[in-house]
Symmetry: D2
Amino acid sequence: MSKIQEECGVFGIISPEKGDVASSTYYGLFALQHRGQQSCGISVNDDGLFSTYKDLGIVNDVFSRSNLESLGQGNMAIGQVLYASGNITRDHAQPIVVNHTKGKLAIAANVCLVNAFELREEFELKGSIFHTNSDAELILHIIVEERLRSKSIEEAVSKALSRLEGAYSFVIMSPKKIIAVRDPRGFKPLCYGARDDGSIIVASESCALNAAGAKLIRDIAPGEVMVFDKNQTRSFTEFCNKENPSLCVFEYVYFARPDSIIDGASVHTARLNAGRILAQEHPVDADVVIGVPDSGLDAALGYSRESGIPYGIGFLKNKYIARTFIAPGQKTREDKVRIKLNPISDTLKGKRVIMIDESIVRGTTSARIVNLVREAGATEVHMRISSPPFLNPCYYGTDASNSDNLIASHHSIDEIAKIIGVDSLGYLSIEGIKKIACGKDCGYCTACFDGLYPTAKPTSTDRTSKYDRKISDNNK
Amino acid sequence: MSKIQEECGVFGIISPEKGDVASSTYYGLFALQHRGQQSCGISVNDDGLFSTYKDLGIVNDVFSRSNLESLGQGNMAIGQVLYASGNITRDHAQPIVVNHTKGKLAIAANVCLVNAFELREEFELKGSIFHTNSDAELILHIIVEERLRSKSIEEAVSKALSRLEGAYSFVIMSPKKIIAVRDPRGFKPLCYGARDDGSIIVASESCALNAAGAKLIRDIAPGEVMVFDKNQTRSFTEFCNKENPSLCVFEYVYFARPDSIIDGASVHTARLNAGRILAQEHPVDADVVIGVPDSGLDAALGYSRESGIPYGIGFLKNKYIARTFIAPGQKTREDKVRIKLNPISDTLKGKRVIMIDESIVRGTTSARIVNLVREAGATEVHMRISSPPFLNPCYYGTDASNSDNLIASHHSIDEIAKIIGVDSLGYLSIEGIKKIACGKDCGYCTACFDGLYPTAKPTSTDRTSKYDRKISDNNK
Amino acid sequence: MSKIQEECGVFGIISPEKGDVASSTYYGLFALQHRGQQSCGISVNDDGLFSTYKDLGIVNDVFSRSNLESLGQGNMAIGQVLYASGNITRDHAQPIVVNHTKGKLAIAANVCLVNAFELREEFELKGSIFHTNSDAELILHIIVEERLRSKSIEEAVSKALSRLEGAYSFVIMSPKKIIAVRDPRGFKPLCYGARDDGSIIVASESCALNAAGAKLIRDIAPGEVMVFDKNQTRSFTEFCNKENPSLCVFEYVYFARPDSIIDGASVHTARLNAGRILAQEHPVDADVVIGVPDSGLDAALGYSRESGIPYGIGFLKNKYIARTFIAPGQKTREDKVRIKLNPISDTLKGKRVIMIDESIVRGTTSARIVNLVREAGATEVHMRISSPPFLNPCYYGTDASNSDNLIASHHSIDEIAKIIGVDSLGYLSIEGIKKIACGKDCGYCTACFDGLYPTAKPTSTDRTSKYDRKISDNNK
Amino acid sequence: MSKIQEECGVFGIISPEKGDVASSTYYGLFALQHRGQQSCGISVNDDGLFSTYKDLGIVNDVFSRSNLESLGQGNMAIGQVLYASGNITRDHAQPIVVNHTKGKLAIAANVCLVNAFELREEFELKGSIFHTNSDAELILHIIVEERLRSKSIEEAVSKALSRLEGAYSFVIMSPKKIIAVRDPRGFKPLCYGARDDGSIIVASESCALNAAGAKLIRDIAPGEVMVFDKNQTRSFTEFCNKENPSLCVFEYVYFARPDSIIDGASVHTARLNAGRILAQEHPVDADVVIGVPDSGLDAALGYSRESGIPYGIGFLKNKYIARTFIAPGQKTREDKVRIKLNPISDTLKGKRVIMIDESIVRGTTSARIVNLVREAGATEVHMRISSPPFLNPCYYGTDASNSDNLIASHHSIDEIAKIIGVDSLGYLSIEGIKKIACGKDCGYCTACFDGLYPTAKPTSTDRTSKYDRKISDNNK
């Protein structure tokens, strides 16, 4: 069940010939939908003319056949699916497309800057205006400013990089080029591949390459700036290897799709491994291992294989549940969980059950699921979590950042076990999680678990306050 | 992947007190959505006043919060989700609600009559008019006619039963009663349960009882007429045990949800058993067993358990794919499959793979999936099907009835294996499928496999022709 | 300003060649929109295959290009716009299309039967079922029943006529024919015309013929049954001249469009005449004559011409006001009138104003308009009404039938003048209104003014009660 | 019939107490709808927090009750309806709301700058980015820049004025103030008024004040900057009387609503006067004077009064015609005109007709209308136009600017008469049109008629080319 949200999926394509790049982007965004359901958009570049359509909502709701066709043919396109905490409006939907002295410029970004407040203030004091409080718009301001004193858009992007601090992977589309950028610590994934027709595709995850008919070539390296134009692909590595790699480890555990390959490692296999290590760290005698769909399933299979305890299918997840589910009436919370996730009693009845989930945030949903499993006849419920407890806010985009809501901040593991009603509870260790992808610590951000932040903390997390605060609250 | 379609899910609720029966019905239909995606509707009964909303589309699209609320409070409601072959219009959406001399009468039906043509003609010759070609409307005509010479609505319904031949489970709502009916052979499932607040709920599958907060009491028996009113529950068994039971066995293999219990047997367990028997009937040496999501997963687990070959997760199914997926552009068919179902290469690479699916209809989708699995690196692909080959048309509602489209009608198993590109292919035997639910043959319709039809065949399968044929085709 | 509502506009077309009859019907309904805004629909007949689209709402909202195109080509079509008092659902939208032993049958009707209750009961007692409480559906039951004992559909229609009592004009479409019927008293208008391509068109008003590119041939006579098929046009006059003609005189004053010709008389000219006679009956010294848009404008011009007092434009009517105007907020009623109808102060300031409207129903809107005119600086306001006072309910479809709401039922003319705040008030006399169309009384229903009903009164005006009443209200 | 389009209507309100300013703005925009149908929007200011909703479409389509309510309560609001030539996207919809160092700033503008190209280039060269090619966004850039070196927002607005060249009336909303600005030549109307509750309202036309319940106080003078805050109203007249007044005279003839008062003159009376002068300049013997709805009606009445020839109602205009009319099928152009505008034959038959319209652009529509009038039986048709011939492009917002399309540029009046098929044709003289509002020339822009432009011509009329041109067209 979705409990944590991460910010955004990005996509870009450049083709040797003018063609239906909008459809390829549509398929790519469709495959990235799990990374953000609040808005989506596509911008097509036909020899410098940009056509853009974007709106609040998921790809399936936003893009009808007619508005997809209205984007026309082109030789490049970028697209984005957005997750953002707080209320957002249509203006936040990406790609953000602007006009500047060199023509059009568009961005599709997965970004969370820790120096956004300072950067924004710097621009405001020069008289700049912002249409949103989005970091993506801020990046455009910096690039356009740098463009005035650069010989090329790629030079401007590189100069912009030295001013950005935080987590970001983004794709820039200029009239003639697609530029893909990943921050020097590599917090957010970004990769590229190629299609038989010669098109190059950039995406947050390799599953989107597959969906658009391309094969993965490799990940964009942390700090790398890749420039794709009609004739060539160039890599600028000035910012590479300047920082320790800090890929968000939660990409493997939860955010990414299991069929994706991130930084060389299969997400599915990483989850299997998380289950295996969990079985080593927290063994228990039981009759069946089940996963909470969808993200607990792979880890449950790993736990089963390691422990030898049979894997079972414990729940039916209603596949018609979507974001727009209206949940009418006065039903109890348990009932609302049951509508999404109905236990399969033959699997559970009279059984000692090990149940794997990828995390516990506030604990309320977990408690309800445990209750459903017990009602279905389980005699014991042993909960295993394929990640360590959340103890610290994330400044890089994971929306579980308010530690007030984190059950692990206020309760011991034994207390949590009691609260959610399980017979035993075990979390994957921090050492364990670091090994799930490559068998050793290949460099991850684990700040939400251990508080070791790879960057300075933001001076103001409340960067939107100036725009979205009442006058009377400002004592003006 | 959905390839076969069955007709309709039905739901009914009667509560001791006036309340939000519309929401309960909404949840029930949501859980029955897999049984029909073409239209849906709810009719609420407030002390004889009926409010109805229905339209083409799935529950999530048809019911907004406002039109659900517009149905108001009541003490009874019925609802339906419809699958129908051919073009349908809004008029076909159920519940169908009519006025007759005793007031309102509504029906929600899962029905396929073999004597519809004769019944319809009988009414036409009396001057009756039909708004649709739906068998549900025909049933209402019969009940209303019988009502004139009956003391009660339940007597009228019972009399109507003796005139109906075919497969049907339906729910009738009169101003004061809910009546649930299952045909004497029990082709289609129907069960009922109770909720803590005293409400009685009837539904095609027990998963809908759960979704509405009720617990399963039992199945409606083949031929049983159950009458629920404010004060009591009565069962009329006049038509029970007159025919051999003939539940559609494909309910277990494909149509029903795995968390449902049908005629006492868990659908999930029946699918596990199908996989187990398949492993006995068609063993093969391999490295991993995978299922084609969603309906092949349980059987794959059963095959794995029986054979001892590890169970693996072979595909990621995109959970945002819905009926409205627009599939733009000129992509190859393989690509369109890949968007829904992307192989997980770590599971498949260098492996001898056993892949379980619940059926092969035309073979084209299977061929594409096999191709994806090979592309992902599988060295061998052994396909196992958890049902026997389709050889005969179904007259009871399964929409794979045109034997022209059935690959098994025209090709030997070896030929099919070659067409879909597998190293070996095995189907579950007819004897095998009969045992999946209760371990022995408890009475099933297997006509699509063996041609043994429990009823007479329809004299005219083309029962709509009179209404939907051009004059010039009639040589009039 | 719309204050009174009449029921429905109908349209039918038959072409020598298959073509885009749906578009012609769309244009016709568009021109008839003023006769009903609650639902609309079109049914196209392609050699016996009927395609229908209908929904609640106005033509512009219901018909998009795509659903109009989905109706396809055909050689015949009928359409309807509906006004109905009370809550209606999609099921009430016309054309109503049914299946019977001879194939398809569709009706588009403007109907109000006084013997509906008795007819409906007769059918119920035979076991018939009704999907609505609409008189149009009832007429189909009668025709289909008569069809069993008739040699042709036109014979069945003629037999049906002898069973119907009340006001009706309707169009029937069978697989091969269009049949147009007007009741023997001719309450409701109906006419037909021809187009250069040989198509025959039937419509409630001649303006719809013009909109579809046809020229008026003549009105259908009261009691006439006209049958149009591919080869010929036939008129059956069996029911003609059996009753005194009773065309609703309010068609000329308010319901019909001024550019229509009804029973040989121009509606525009009839309104001019109403104004002229009003000037003779209620002269007053003043500076300017203005009309309340839209229906008072023609009469105001007539009053001006007769009296010699200059005609002025007193109001701007906002042309973007539509049925869907949401009227948010806490504005006063005066403001809400002003949004639709803003006075033009240069016309009114310092002037003695004669203001013409076509009726006063409850008086509240009139009072507000008078107030606006005074605020704009009029020194005197003399109201003249181009029809006599409403004193009696209408049983033939005019929805001002509850005499409780009629200001003239409870107040003298002097009292009304005081209530609405005018310096003088004059109504057209009953003798006067009878002369507006042909200069003498050519036979009109004036029952709402004088209580002289051309038919028996209905035994039950509450004909829908059985279906739409709670059980507990029935003491059952 | 609408043939010429002018750009935009603006609205602003400031109330002493927090309240439903969104609804007042909604009503105001509704009254201004004729000034622009391409997009509309409202921005509400609640003590510094801005809520905005805007989209492509007319007010009735864009604002549902729920999204209007979502704007919440506030003490100020601004709104806009937009007309723009060329393709526009949602980004162009106003109000445009931006963030800058002092918080939020919003603009609703009716603007056409002749130095836009130079201003935009100046900002681009500083690194500014533009989200649209709209002049309104450009004005915000200038104001925000000036704000850095000003003590107040009103000082910044005043400084901005000295940099703007062209036609503009706009309303600015800052956290605490509403500022209304009209360009020094007063090309576009702008006025303000007050409501009984103490609210001040600014609008493009006085009809919008009325619709929002306010009374006109006076017009904003050319060059005036008015500042409204909670406590006071201040007028800055630094830019007043620096230029000759140049109100677009076509506001009186066509753009504005007849119930509006602009610069002290009634639009209705100005049109009456246009008709009177036309009768003096181009008399002809005839039987009836008719106007082409809607904008020809007032002038026709004026012509009738002056000439003594009776005024008649010549056409019925279908009031359900809206922007979304789909016009299906293969109808002739004449038929499409007839659907909107059906002649009333009793007015025309056998008559010598004088027909008044406000302009002739390409002549095609006029020709069709003349044809309809002749078909209806007119024996002579004398066309009179209540404005002089268009001969020159307009650089201030009127979208008939391409002289290639102007029939009068290529043909003599006699030729035009022949082309549109009239017996005689007369245009109002330039001297005549200057007198319609105040009886003498009070200062108008008549450049489209006489080519005397009040400002320098724009150096580049193609100001959007840089952004919306293909690379290959730039020879880059």
